[in-house]
Amino acid sequence: MATILKGTGISGELAIGCLRIEKQGERVPEYRIDERQVREHSERFLSAKTQADAALGKLKEELNEDGRVQEAEIIAVQQEFLDDPAILSGINERIEKDLSNVESAVYQGFEETILVFEQMEDAYWQQRSLDLKDLRSRLLKLLSGEAEEAYGDKDVIVACTELYPAMVLSAKKNRVVGFLVEQGARTSHASILAKAFDLPLLIQVPEALETFTGEERLVLDIGSAEVLGDLSSEEYQEYAQKLAEVENEKTRLLRYRDMEARTKDGVRIELAANIVSAEEVGAALENKADGIGLFRTEFLYMQSAVLPSEEEQFRSYRQVVERMAPASVIIRTLDAGGDKQASCLDLPKEDNPFMGYRAIRICLNEMELFKTQIRAILRASHYGNVRLMLPMIISREEIIRSRELVEAVKDELRSEDIPFDDRMEIGIMAETPASVVSLPDWLDIVDFVSIGTNDLTQYMLAVDRTNPKMQAYYDYGNSAVLRAIKMICDACTAQDTWVGVCGEMAAEKDWIPFLVGCGVKELSVGAGRINLVKQTLEQYSMVECEDYIKRHLT
């Protein structure tokens, strides 16, 4: 019987390899030394430091040679940490004055600084504590004398409690084909790097290290967010074949990288990327996205115990906007609630959260919170091409109240001499049945529309998309969903309003011709799927897309 654990898939598609457990967070030996041993312990530290520096230097060089300049810089920063006089003197003092053994001196010497970073005001700086932990664990491993085990010539899947950036960066060299992580977070640096390298990564699998203990062969299936062990040889064979197909497909898709997204008859479709954090812009640029079609801002709120300040939000938005300019960045205002809980919002538990207090409903009820976000977005609009998007709209009233708030904030900024883009567009997500029916009555006060197919499908069909039992019911091909999309697009075309799609349906090759035939101007997908969408677009002319609609709606 196969052993299967569920997690959250972050990047990549499929990996097969032998399990290797990366031990972390073990207790370091702690004892007092006598003065005659001080020299020995100081020298051991120095030697570990030299070895770590050399290993990092080598890794940096390899990344640079691969043209991974940005990733190499992460390693350069760790080298700088390793040479930090504050940390070094902390460690030396512990050995020389407190007579601590070198292992605990290193552990404690870093701990102080790690704690300071963990307590810093915003998420960016807090993340740096993981870089320090990464470096510390490298040093402790060198000190324990267990030389970095050779990974050998087998493909390896590494299982660990917490994934550190350097582990991702050195994956290729060590023949690591995937990661299985007990904790982990969608927005951690390590996750973002894994996406940039397209490395299979499954996080939030709490029982991973208890369940898989030997050197067994595992399969990481990111599509179904599962790790599978104890498979029969036939089952392995099946996965191995699937993996070969995935690899072939990747090679085939590479040729689309430098091509524009066009239909067979040359109609240009904007192909944008969905991102959840500023750090993901790199992947969008690398895959030559035409813009950001959906910047989900709720993750700024979800990763923090306190509400993100205007400054923190502004910095994050501005970074994305500047790097994408002159391409447009659609920033969606807070879409928390539903399945996305944020502890800093302190939302009460609800019986029916998807129908409850979420998204624009929270924002229009807690105007200060909304105002802070709108100020940050408007300020960022000065640095490029920002379009603001409101989620979960069900009435004209909500659009009017949001626009009034934007105008009030603009007046405020003007009086403070803070620059912003006065012509910033304001659009809405079409994802509720209300928006399908009433859109024609709203479009005079809406600059653009983006169809959120995930929620639209769930609400049109009254099917909870998070319920595994409902998966067969959750079907884009249901004619009610297709007709709803057609109605939205027809309304937009009739009133000459720009319409895009930012839900997962935009990356489904069976439905791309349908969406294009409906007249959408833009498809926004995960950065890793851009080439796939280009390939699909190339197979259909506009006439064929329109035929495709007729076939599905009659």
């Binding site: 920063v77 700088e80 940490f81 006089p85 504050a86 300071v116 810093m120 740096r128 910095r315 500047e322």
Partner: protein, 91 residues
């Protein structure tokens, strides 16, 4: 000798620019400190500089005590160029 600089990098003196800042100070030698608000740190300590939490448009003050005036001036001038260049980061 001391001078004030306004940091214009979009997300402030984060890891990469802080590393370049510190490398420069180490290379120039002498005793160099950075102050933001009340807090003063060793300019050759990257964790110190990062813990100042310098954001875009923040002003920092750099104090240098070197062997001679020419060297101090050189340290501050070059630093000024680096700040204007966003420490080599793109806009």
């Amino acid at each position: 000798m001391q001078r004030e600089y306004t940091i214009i990098n979009a997300i402030g003196l984060h890891a990469r620019p802080a590393a370049r800042f510190v490398q420069h100070c180490k290379k120039m030698g002498g005793k160099i400190t950075v102050t933001k608000g009340e807090k003063e740190v060793d300019a050759t300590s990257i964790t110190g500089v990062m813990q100042l939490g310098v954001h875009a448009q923040d002003t920092i003050r750099v104090k240098v005590q070197g062997d001679n005036e020419e060297q101090e001036l050189q340290t501050l001038d070059t630093l000024g160029e680096m700040v204007d260049d966003r420490f080599g980061e793109q806009e």
